[in-house]
């Protein structure tokens, strides 16, 4: 599981700003599955503020115990192995926040998400960011930044991609991109709304709302 940078700004109820952006995409009363839900901050928010039926999967047992102790419907499991057991169309929204780059089979996980849910909300750190490109170009070593802060031999982020890569995968798989935005490390919206190429250069995190085609 990627470690969240420590200096992310928190808003009301200690929810990460990027989770807040995700929450804004989810309508009242929706049925939501949050994969990699951590201690369940998003689930709790959606349950309380939007009367959603929100459930979660988390790989870190300490986080699961915390979430369950707060009365949340969270199970111990992971994206690669547990999604296959959910029924088709069981959820309105399936969320995967800052985890896609760390799963074993990202393409399969996305397929499962859009099989289980009518919508998928995916956020991931953008490997196309200029700082990464610059470091690799000038130093010839794997980038070491605020977001990509673990050495190559121990990073859990085994499948990094750029915003353009992700869009290409969505095209290949026939997913409709309903919304996308690039945000900076603190979850603030970055002003690259009009150009994917600029977003791919300057956006540190990407957030996509996808829909099953047809």
């Amino acid at each position: 599981m990627p470690e969240a940078p420590t200096d992310i700004r928190y808003v009301a109820k200690n929810m990460r700003l990027d989770l807040r952006l995700i929450a804004e995409m989810i309508p009242h009363g929706a049925k939501v599955l949050d994969i990699g839900c951590g201690d369940g901050a998003l689930i709790e928010h959606l349950t309380r503020e939007k009367q959603a039926d929100a459930r979660g999967i988390e790989i870190d047992m300490a986080e699961v115990t915390k979430a369950v102790s707060s009365g949340l419907a969270v199970i111990h499991g992971d994206a690669d192995n547990d999604l296959a057991f959910y029924p088709d169309g069981g959820f309105d929204y399936v969320v995967l926040s800052r985890t896609l780059q760390a799963v074993e089979r990202p393409r399969e996980v996305l397929r499962q998400m859009l099989r289980i849910g009518a919508h998928a909300i995916v956020s991931f750190p953008n490997f196309g960011h200029w700082e990464l490109r610059w470091r690799l170009l000038t130093r010839g070593r794997m980038p070491d930044t605020e977001t990509w802060n673990r050495p190559w031999y121990e990073t859990p982020n085994i499948h990094p991609c750029t915003i353009l890569d992700f869009i290409a995968l969505c095209e290949m798989e026939g997913y409709r991109v309903e919304k996308w935005l690039a945000v900076d490390e603190r979850g603030l919206k970055a002003p690259w709304r009009r150009s994917v190429r600029l977003a791919n250069l300057f956006g540190e995190q990407a957030l996509f709302l996808l829909r099953r085609a047809g």
């Binding site: 039926d53 459930r55 047992m61 699961v64 115990t65 979430a67 369950v68 102790s69 707060s70 009365g71 949340l72 419907a73 969270v74 199970i75 111990h76 499991g77 547990d82 057991f85 959910y86 029924p87 069981g90």
Partner: protein, 384 residues
């Protein structure tokens, strides 16, 4: 231990009698049906705070008070009480002795009756019909109606108690708001059946068993029942727990003498066996272990476990313990996946513990926090 031990002390248990009896899965009808039970806390005016706790194979209804036969504390006293996870200030807890048990509910030690419910002046013994986990649950359902409860806020239980919880949720989904099957499985595995069979053979092989009619001579098959308990007890622990508690230490000696050496673990097991026979009936043990062996929830639904829970509105909480090899985590995970397939709301934790299957009865703060939190969440949802 081969000599006769006086029959059990007669203890009056709080109970309800259902004169019309209970039809069983095997086709027999026991008439009348008696269900012995205990309650803790107060039923609220809306009758919405009732929680059923289902006991395990050798447990009973004395959940949170000194046992009338052994004088020992209640088996789940650590988590039942004011302010505890099973908060008696908030919930009305009900715990019933299972059908086939020996603490006051109808079982092999009860007086045998004919089809009209007339007493025949002798215990049922081995003539007591085969019962299933579902029969046990049906008996509890009768008690529920007797107590005027339309819906349980939660049904909770570990091990065989967990099997009952699953059966409750599958058979009476509308009567169960929240279900917490702990350290259990949707069926008894071949390995589990095998261990039970060793125990049953030990009882059958005891000369004092006398073909199950030991009561006629005022005897009990104490040696066989104790061996059954010893074998079962090993399956409730883990290799790490046994090493931690006993290691290779000797009782009363620091080195092997090759004469009368007794390892501490041997002495412990003998003690467990000898105390067990003072409170448990051998024919009950045979009946209940068989009920567990018969249990296969998927088989009751054409082999599809998720079909047992399709469309359920019940909220589930499952917990397993990492060192439990009797009901390993994989069994709980299989239930979780079936529940997910059925679209049910599920919480699931595997608690890291070296205490084996018994961990669900012991001091495990993370488990207690998770169970308590789940129950509070369900209570909040129900407006309790």
């Amino acid at each position: 231990m081969s000599q006769a031990i006086a029959p059990f002390p007669e203890v009056a248990h709080q109970h309800a009698v259902f004169p019309d009896g209970l039809p069983l899965d095997c086709g027999a009808v026991v008439v009348p049906l008696t269900v012995a039970y205990r309650t803790y806390g107060t039923l609220n005016a809306e009758r919405s705070n009732a929680v059923l706790v289902c006991h395990a194979l050798t447990g009973d209804q004395y959940l949170a008070e000194p046992h009338p036969v052994t004088g020992k504390p209640g088996w789940w006293e650590s988590i039942v009480g004011p302010g505890k996870p099973l908060d008696t200030d908030r919930y009305f807890l009900v715990c019933a002795n299972v059908l086939g048990g020996c603490m006051g509910s109808t079982g092999p030690r009860s007086e045998m009756t004919d089809a009209e419910g007339r007493g025949l002046g002798r215990p049922w013994g081995t003539d007591f019909p085969s019962v299933t986990i579902r029969d046990m649950v049906r008996a509890q359902k009768r008690l529920m109606e007797h107590l005027g409860i339309a819906r349980w806020l939660a049904v909770i239980g570990g091990s065989m108690g967990g099997m009952q919880v699953l059966e409750w949720a599958a058979t009476y989904p509308d009567a169960v708001l929240a279900a917490a099957p702990i350290a259990c499985a949707a069926h008894h595995s071949a390995q589990n059946i095998a261990f039970h069979e060793v125990g049953r053979q030990a009882i059958h092989g005891d000369p004092d068993w006398m073909g199950g009619r030991y009561w006629e001579e005022g005897r009990i098959p104490a040696r066989g029942l104790a061996v059954a308990r010893m074998v079962a007890h090993i399956t409730y622990l883990s290799e790490q727990a046994l090493t931690r508690k006993f290691g290779r230490r000797l009782r009363g000696a620091s080195a092997l003498t090759f004469l009368e050496d007794v390892f501490e673990v041997e002495s412990y097991l003998r003690y467990q066996g000898s105390t067990f026979v003072q409170r448990f009936d051998a024919n009950s043990y045979l009946t209940i272990t068989r009920a567990m062996d018969f249990f296969d929830l998927a088989a009751e639904h054409e082999g599809d476990l998720s079909a047992a829970f399709r469309g359920t509105a019940t909220r589930f909480f499952l917990a397993s313990f990492s060192s439990d090899w009797l009901f390993p985590t994989s069994e709980s995970r299989a239930i979780v996946r079936a529940l997910n397939a059925a679209g049910a709301s599920v919480s699931f934790v595997e608690i890291a513990s070296d205490k084996g299957h018994d961990a669900f009865l012991l001091e495990e703060p993370e488990f207690h926090a998770a169970l308590g939190g789940f129950l509070r969440g369900a209570a909040e949802k129900a407006g309790v």
